[in-house]
């Protein structure tokens, strides 16, 4: 990925909060990142730090009711989609930006055939005769390595294995040839060998389509395999972002360091984030200063007073910490 690559998605200072009776949950609170054309950006962080909510904010598919994006810009291909109307968003979804969800078991509608569900997506791209659409559906399934696609399109989700369903979900998600694909832990629910297959498939599709992927995961092994750059998220904010190699070899933020240290060995596909001592702060009651302070070994008074600004470490490498360069 060259530095000069064009930006396709630019998220700036995004704040998405839950307004509940007992308080405001600041699940996403000041997230900024850019995604360049054709790259894979990893988004990692502990459970509950706001990764999925960041993704759903970008899709503008927040859970109905209490959640609202209250601040920020989401610039997709030059336009701020937070300013788009719901019907304009429907035009954008599926074609410019799409998403693969975590759980293949529940991502497909159980009462419609695979073919039906693919057709709905394909028809939107270019209305055509049923026969033509069926042909396209078969081709779409073949593209995600589904054997005997002609038979499969008449089947229901429960007749397929988890890995197969996830590939169908992938086929549906990319059927509109989106420029950006968000993959929210797409392999967590699959077993290891199937995971590998799926990741290879995603990578291939990404190369074929030239789409950019925002890849959300818990798993540093997957980051190493899939991503060009990685953003590390903590308590609603990105604390470090840089090329994968640099982050692995020279993590700068104490949180990133702790994360990487907690991964036993960076070989193979394992490498789940194991616990770091302590708890992240409550998203209802975020501290004024650095959010990692309560767990940081390098904490000092100024860390508690104000949130550290973003420090440029390398050309393409930033971190939010007061003590960059001195630890």
């Amino acid at each position: 990925m060259s530095d000069s690559a064009e930006t396709i998605l630019d998220v700036r200072d995004l704040h998405t909060h839950f307004f509940l009776r007992r308080g405001v949950v600041k699940a996403v609170d000041g997230v900024s990142f850019t995604l360049r054309k054709g790259e894979v950006l990893g988004l990692v962080g502990e459970s509950g730090c706001g990764k999925s909510l960041t993704a759903l904010s970008v899709m503008r598919l927040l859970p109905k009711g209490a959640a609202r994006t209250v601040q920020g810009e989401i610039v997709l291909d030059g336009e701020n989609i937070l300013k788009r109307t719901p019907s304009q968003m429907r035009e954008i979804r599926g074609r410019k930006i799409s998403m693969v969800l975590q759980d293949p078991q529940t991502s497909l509608n159980p009462v419609f055939t695979i073919g039906d569900q693919l057709r709905e997506a394909l028809v939107r791209r270019a209305p055509a005769k049923l026969k033509e659409i069926i042909k396209q559906a078969v081709a779409a399934l073949r593209r995600v390595d589904i054997a005997a696609p002609e038979q499969r399109i008449g089947q229901y989700p429960h007749q397929m294995s988890g890995g197969m369903k996830q590939r169908v979900v992938g086929a549906i998600a990319i059927s509109g040839e989106p420029e950006v694909l968000i993959a929210d832990e797409p392999t967590t629910a699959l077993d290891v060998t199937i995971q590998l297959q799926y990741l290879k498939l995603l990578k291939r599709l990404q190369r074929e389509n030239g789409m950019a992927i925002l890849f959300i995961t818990h798993d540093f092994g997957v980051v190493a395999r899939m991503c060009d750059r990685v953003a590390v998220m903590y308590a609603g904010r990105i604390v470090e972002c840089g090329p994968v190699k640099q982050i692995f070899e020279a993590p700068s933020h104490p949180y990133t360091r702790a994360l990487i240290a907690s991964v036993p060995k960076m070989t193979g596909t394992r490498g789940r984030l194991t616990a770091i001592d302590g708890q992240p702060p409550s998203l209802m009651n975020l501290p004024a200063g650095c959010r990692f302070a309560s767990r940081c070994a390098h904490v000092e008074p100024r860390c508690l007073e104000a949130y550290p600004g973003t420090t440029q470490i390398g050309a393409d490498h930033t971190a939010d910490c007061w003590k960059i360069g001195s630890i």
């Binding site: 899709m59 598919l61 859970p63 109905k64 009711g65 719901p86 429907r90 035009e91 954008i92 979804r93 599926g94 074609r95 799409s98 998403m99 969800l101 975590q102 759980d103 529940t106 991502s107 497909l108 509608n109 159980p110 009462v111 419609f112 709905e120 997506a121 939107r124 229901y156 429960h158 007749q159 979900v169 549906i172 998600a173 059927s175 509109g176």
Partner: protein, 305 residues
Amino acid sequence: MKRFIARRLIQGVVLLFMVATIVFFLGRLTGNPVDLMLPEDATAEDRAALVKTLGLDEPLLDQFVIFVGKAAQGDLGQSIRMKQPAAEAFFNRLPNTLVLIPWALLLGMALGIPLGVLAALNRGGLLDRFAGTVAVLGVAMPSFWLGVLLIFVFSVELGWLPSSRMGGPEHYVLPVITLGTFLVAGFMRITRSAMLEVMESEFVKLARIKGLSETTVIWKHCLRNALIPVLTLWGVFVGNLITGAIVTETVFAWPGIGRLTYEAVIYRDYPLLQAVIILKSILILTINLGVDILYAYVDPRIRLT
């Protein structure tokens, strides 16, 4: 699917046998029918003769065996009051009840399902609260009270609709509303809760990710799934209707099996009552089986296993 149907049929037969047993022995507990059947001035000989023809002098267990044996051949005994086979009386009246049921179901669904969807879409909003009130009213309002109220307003005061007996289409309106109101609430509540659950699911998110319109997402993807639990309750609802018909048909003097049940109780026509209960059970079991088959049609996960 065939095995499923066969299993259900066997279950049905077992259930029917239990119903027959209960009905038979309960019938014997509630007194001697001979006294009811004879005129007050009957002699002891008359009584003895009748006891003999009815087989009431046999040991209870033998009576039961004979009863079950005959029932299995379709002979459910004679109605005391109507002087005709009880089954015949039932089947003469049955069509009158059956013509009400589809309309009541239709009314219940036509109002209940959309109301449930709208309530789910407006969860916690004004519409949801309105629908909730409708639901409480529909369930809390006893059908005899609603029936009497409707008669009072539309027949007595306004004179728009007939208050009793069968006849042209206008005769159906009030009984159908009375029967259907109970179902509106039921359908609404189930649709609402099923929709709320379905709307949270991942496949709905994927439907939106595809860029489908909200109409397609709600009325196709969500509702089709939400209808599965709604359908399972069809059997229960039809059962409710058949049971509920007792009150409604009595209020509206509607000559169906509900009113027949009422008459059998009032006149202590116990062979008729036995027959009515057993035949109603068969009816409800058959409907439930039909619903299960329909259910399998809507939910491919059942159909294809």
